[in-house]
């Protein structure tokens, strides 16, 4: 296995939404989770994670909330809104269509 790959352009938003669809978490946990779920293939750069989180929040797809963590520190937890859930469905459908198409081309004999 080589170096962890950068994310495919434009897919970070979908990944964040998908990650948050399970349960609310903070930025650090989102990054870790994506890394974990992709078996360490995908590495989220902080430089793109936080702008993405804030952009999604501005668009009303996720909502940030300051809560105390177990250690008693104030942490910003993000959760999916109803609109975000809809958006996730749309992006998932779109991704499936796209990836199937790309697969067709890449694997053509």
């Amino acid at each position: 296995m080589g170096k962890p790959s950068d994310l495919v352009q434009g897919t970070l938003d979908s990944l964040i939404l998908k990650t948050l669809s399970l349960n609310p978490m903070h930025g650090w946990a989102i990054a870790k989770r994506i890394q974990q779920l992709s078996s360490e293939v995908l590495q989220v750069q902080q430089g793109s994670l936080y702008p993405a989180l804030h952009r999604l929040e501005q668009q009303g797809w996720i909502r940030g909330k300051w809560t105390e963590s177990e250690s008693g520190r104030k942490v910003k937890f993000y959760s999916l809104t109803a609109a975000g859930r809809k958006q996730l469905e749309a992006e998932r459908a779109n991704w499936n269509r796209l990836s199937a198409a790309i697969n067709l081309i890449m694997n053509e004999a």
Binding site: H26, G27, W28, Q45, Q46, G47, Y50, P51, H54, R55, E57, Q58, Q59, G60, W61, R63, W66, R73, K74, V75, K76, T81, A82, A83
Partner: protein, 885 residues
């Protein structure tokens, strides 16, 4: 709900930006801490873990910036930035800014004022319950066979009674009669005349309005045998009774009869007229004999439709009833056979509708002219800043960015102008409401949220309009050429000047339209005021006196004695040349008419009738007013009480009813019972200014059958000075008698032409303003062209061009857009003046004189605006100009 989330985020970001920054820092710090903790867990020491974490994190400052850029207030911040630049560029040229703001303020102020008035008077629904179900009802009369159609006639008491009882389409129907009553002196206050309304008891419930204090009328109050009751208007209560609630159930004296005050109407309630001050029950006020007449037309009727019934169906229902009444007495031609209606709002404001919309259109023109002027100024300025703009474009300044700056600059201008305009409008509306409180629904004129929204809309539209015109004018393809050009700088800006000339032509065209409207209205007003009333109007004083019937019973000797004594005493006053008394003086209105037949003529066919305006006058009246006695003589001295049997007719009466005959000695049978002999024919007078004279017959005042009318007094000079001595004479005869409408004939006619003079004055003011603006625009464009072409002109002069040639060249250049605009405007006016046709008196919309005046005025003022820059061009010193290169 997503948009709500978004909105909330935006507001939060805007208001708590500092907070958001701190939160972002906190979030990032947490991330790093987590990373450090993970590194420590992987076995690094504290220092190493920290460095590794920061390394992995990258540049926190740049991360912070990228994140912040996603926050939506970035766009708002950009807006504020542009706004600041716009404001700063404007403050750099304060003269320009002030002029542009003033122009805009005038335009927007005028437009907002008129919009507020139109909205208050015409557009707002009436403040009654379900106002769209209220109808004003009239009789549709055709009293003379082939003698014309009289829709919208006032309603006779008996007809109302039948309508009210028999209709199946109205949930209620109320009767309204106008009147004036004298409120007796009390508590040290002088007696005064009040505008009163006699109404059926159900008027207030029909409209759906309750008194603010006390109660309304009950059906028991509305009968001849009930005790007198009165409801007061809020303003009368405040003014005359100091707003004291204990006035309820107290007694006041109206026309010397006692009335218990039972209620006070709310302050906004003004019905049937904006100056109605007291309401009394009609069946208590008006004798039963009159209330049951089928042909004595004197009341207005307002009805409330039953739910689900259309106006057409309801009117058909009433027409059926009227037709039955008409057919039951076929020998009486004055009983109408049909009914007709119109919406209550239209009844109240129908007359002012067209003038108001014309005014609104005029202010819209003015606003457009103001906008064009500001656009013109902006174009000129961006032309002056061409080099700067070209350099910015060359350095990579985005076109959008430049466009945005243009728009922003224009928005700042228009917003400042609009703010000032709003203030202006506020002042103007206050002034209007105070000076023109005779306008229907004047108390509904208020500035409110809709007006504010309208103002904002106008500001944005104007900003877009003038900003886009100037912005689209900066074409960045030509930018590079500009840089080349300006290094040579001989004759630049040709295209720019062309655009400005086009704008000017449009501006001049609009000005011409306004000028045309103004000149037509002014001419019409002058025609109106110079109408021959048929009587003397100089140095004649009039005042209205109504004797209370309770003390001066008609018919009877009391009114006769009063008028006789009054005239004797007034005539005895020094400086009084002559004095007389008439029920209604010329110019005071139609008032009343009577049906009659001529004894010497063959009887009329059934269903036909003849009517003429009737007046009662004392024998001296015709001499006082200078109404010529064309044939016969005035009333004899014996024409008193029961002996009265003479009548005098007007010239048009004689012409219409006695063609080719001598009317003297013929007899008139009036109202079917009394016979009068014609003893004189007098000249025609106009019952109202602006209407052709109608047949009038005069009856002797001393018959004692009238107790109200107008005293007319004539003097050599300064007749106004007689007002006090004459009123003192009246007071000495009856202390409680109020005198109303003390006016000279000139004032009386001026008052009745107030609308016309007001409209003419207002439109003229707009026209003069726009002429000034257009002239200023011409001056500006030509001065600018001169500045641009100074080098070229210098060379021409140096090469031997005559100074007159240069003058002519520049003049022609400046006048071309003016002439274009003039032609454009005249053509447009030919169409638009048709709209004010209904407002004109004896003036045609295509009046050639008016067209000529406007054309000359416009060319003259354009030439005046152009002559200074043109002359300056011809005086250029070629050496100096060329050296400046």
């Amino acid at each position: 709900m997503r948009w709500l989330d978004q909105l909330w985020m935006q507001v939060r970001m805007l208001l708590w930006r500092g907070n958001a920054d701190a939160e972002l820092d906190e979030e990032l710090r947490f991330h790093i801490e987590q990373q450090i903790a993970e590194n420590r867990a992987a076995g690094m020491d504290a220092e190493e873990a920290r460095y590794a974490a920061l390394r992995a994190f990258g540049n926190p400052a740049s991360l912070r910036d990228t994140t912040r850029a996603t926050w939506n207030w970035a766009r708002l911040e950009q807006f504020a930035h542009d706004l600041r630049i716009g404001a700063r560029t404007l403050t750099r040229t304060p003269g320009f800014a002030v002029i542009a703001i003033l122009i805009t303020a005038l335009g927007i102020g005028a437009c907002v004022t008129l919009f507020t008035v139109v909205r208050g008077v015409l557009l707002k629904p009436l403040p009654f319950k379900d106002p769209d179900r209220l109808l004003m009802l009239y009789e549709h009369s055709t009293p003379t066979a082939g003698g014309g159609d009289f829709p919208y006639s006032v309603v006779a008491g008996g007809v109302y009674d039948a309508w009210n009882k028999e209709n199946t389409t109205f949930s209620s129907m109320a009767l309204i009669g106008g009147n004036q009553v004298g409120l007796s002196a009390s508590g040290g206050q002088l007696p005064e005349r009040l505008n009163s309304a006699n109404v059926s008891w159900n008027l207030f419930p029909t409209l759906g309005v309750n008194p603010a204090l006390g109660r309304g009328f009950t059906s028991a109050d509305d009968s001849p045998t009930a005790n007198g009751t009165a409801v007061l208007s809020w303003s009368l209560w405040k003014r005359r009774f100091g707003g004291d609630p204990s006035i309820l159930n107290r007694t006041i004296y109206l026309d010397a009869k006692p009335y218990a005050v039972i209620g006070i109407m709310p302050a906004w309630f003004a019905f049937p007229f904006s100056n109605t001050q007291v309401w009394t029950p009609v069946y208590h006020e008006v004798p039963e004999s009159i209330m049951s007449h089928l042909d004595f037309h004197r009341f207005r009727v307002v009805g409330r439709l039953k739910p689900g019934v259309t106006a057409a169906k309801a009117v058909a229902n009433l027409s059926t009833i009227s037709s039955r009444l008409h057919n039951s007495q076929l020998n009486n031609p004055f009983i109408s056979a049909a009914a007709i209606s119109r919406p209550l709002l239209e009844h109240m404001v129908g007359e002012v509708k067209r003038p108001l919309y014309v005014m609104l259109a005029a202010t819209a023109c003015l606003l457009l002219i103001a906008c064009l002027n500001v656009a013109n100024l902006l174009v000129a300025r961006s032309a002056a800043r061409r080099k700067e703009l070209a350099i910015r474009t060359a350095l990579g300044g985005g076109r959008m960015r430049l466009l945005r700056e243009h728009l922003m600059e224009s928005l700042v201008l228009q917003a400042a102008g609009g703010g000032a305009g709003l203030l202006l409008a506020y002042v103007a509306i206050n002034w209007l409401v105070h000076t023109r409180n005779d306008i229907a629904r004047v108390n509904a004129i208020h500035m409110d949220g809709v007006v504010a929204a309208f103002t904002v809309g106008v500001i944005v539209l104007c900003a877009l309009f003038s900003g886009l015109i100037s912005a689209l004018n900066t074409d960045d393809k030509q930018m590079l050429r500009t840089l080349h050009e300006s290094s040579r700088g001989n004759s630049a800006g040709g295209t720019r000047a062309r655009l400005r000339k086009m704008l000017l032509a449009v501006e001049v065209g609009l000005t011409v339209m306004l000028l045309m409207g103004a000149s037509l209205l002014v001419k019409s007003y002058q025609r109106l005021r110079s109408t021959d009333m048929g009587c003397i109007t100089d140095n004649v004083l009039t005042m209205r006196i109504n004797l209370p019937t309770s003390l001066y019973k008609t018919p009877g000797p009391a009114p006769m004695n009063f008028f006789d004594t009054l005239l004797q005493r007034v005539r005895a006053l020094p400086a009084v040349q002559a004095a007389g008394f008439v029920t209604t003086a010329p110019g005071q209105g139609y008032m009343g008419d009577m049906g009659f037949t001529i004894k010497e003529h063959p009887p009329q066919r059934e269903g036909e009738g003849t009517v003429a305006i009737n007046r009662s006058a004392d024998p001296g009246y015709f001499a006082v007013m200078g109404i010529p006695i064309l044939r016969g003589h005035t009333f004899d001295d014996n024409q008193r009480l029961d002996h009265a049997n003479e009548t005098i007719i007007s010239e048009s009466f004689a012409r219409k009813f006695f063609p080719g005959e001598d009317p003297i000695g013929k007899h008139l049978l009036v109202m079917g019972d009394k016979l009068y002999v014609i003893v004189g024919v007098v000249g025609d007078t106009r019952y109202v200014i602006g209407e052709a004279p109608k047949p009038i017959d005069y009856f002797p005042l001393y018959a004692g059958d009238v107790n109200r009318g107008t005293l007319v007094v004539r003097s050599n000079h300064n007749v106004e000075q007689l007002a006090v001595p004459v009123q003192r004479v009246i007071q000495s005869m009856d202390r409680d008698l109020p005198v109303a409408d003390v006016l000279t004939m000139d004032q009386l006619l001026g008052k009745s032409t107030l609308d016309q003079s007001f409209n003419a004055a207002l439109i003229s003011a707009f026209a003069v303003l726009s002429l000034l603006l257009a002239a200023a625009g011409l001056f500006g464009v030509l001065s600018y062209m001169l500045a641009q072409r100074a080098g070229e002109i210098g060379i021409r002069i140096a090469l031997g061009a005559q100074r007159e040639q240069v003058l002519r060249l520049m003049l022609a250049d400046g006048l071309r857009p003016a002439v274009m605009g003039l032609l454009l405007g005249l053509a447009a006016s030919a169409a638009t003046t048709q709209f004010i046709k209904a407002m004109l008196y004896e003036t045609q919309p295509l009046d050639p004189e008016a067209f000529a005046v406007v054309a000359i005025l416009l060319i003259a003022s354009s030439a005046l605006a152009c002559i200074v820059p043109a002359w300056r061009a011809s005086r250029l010193e070629p050496m100096r100009v060329l050296r400046m290169e």
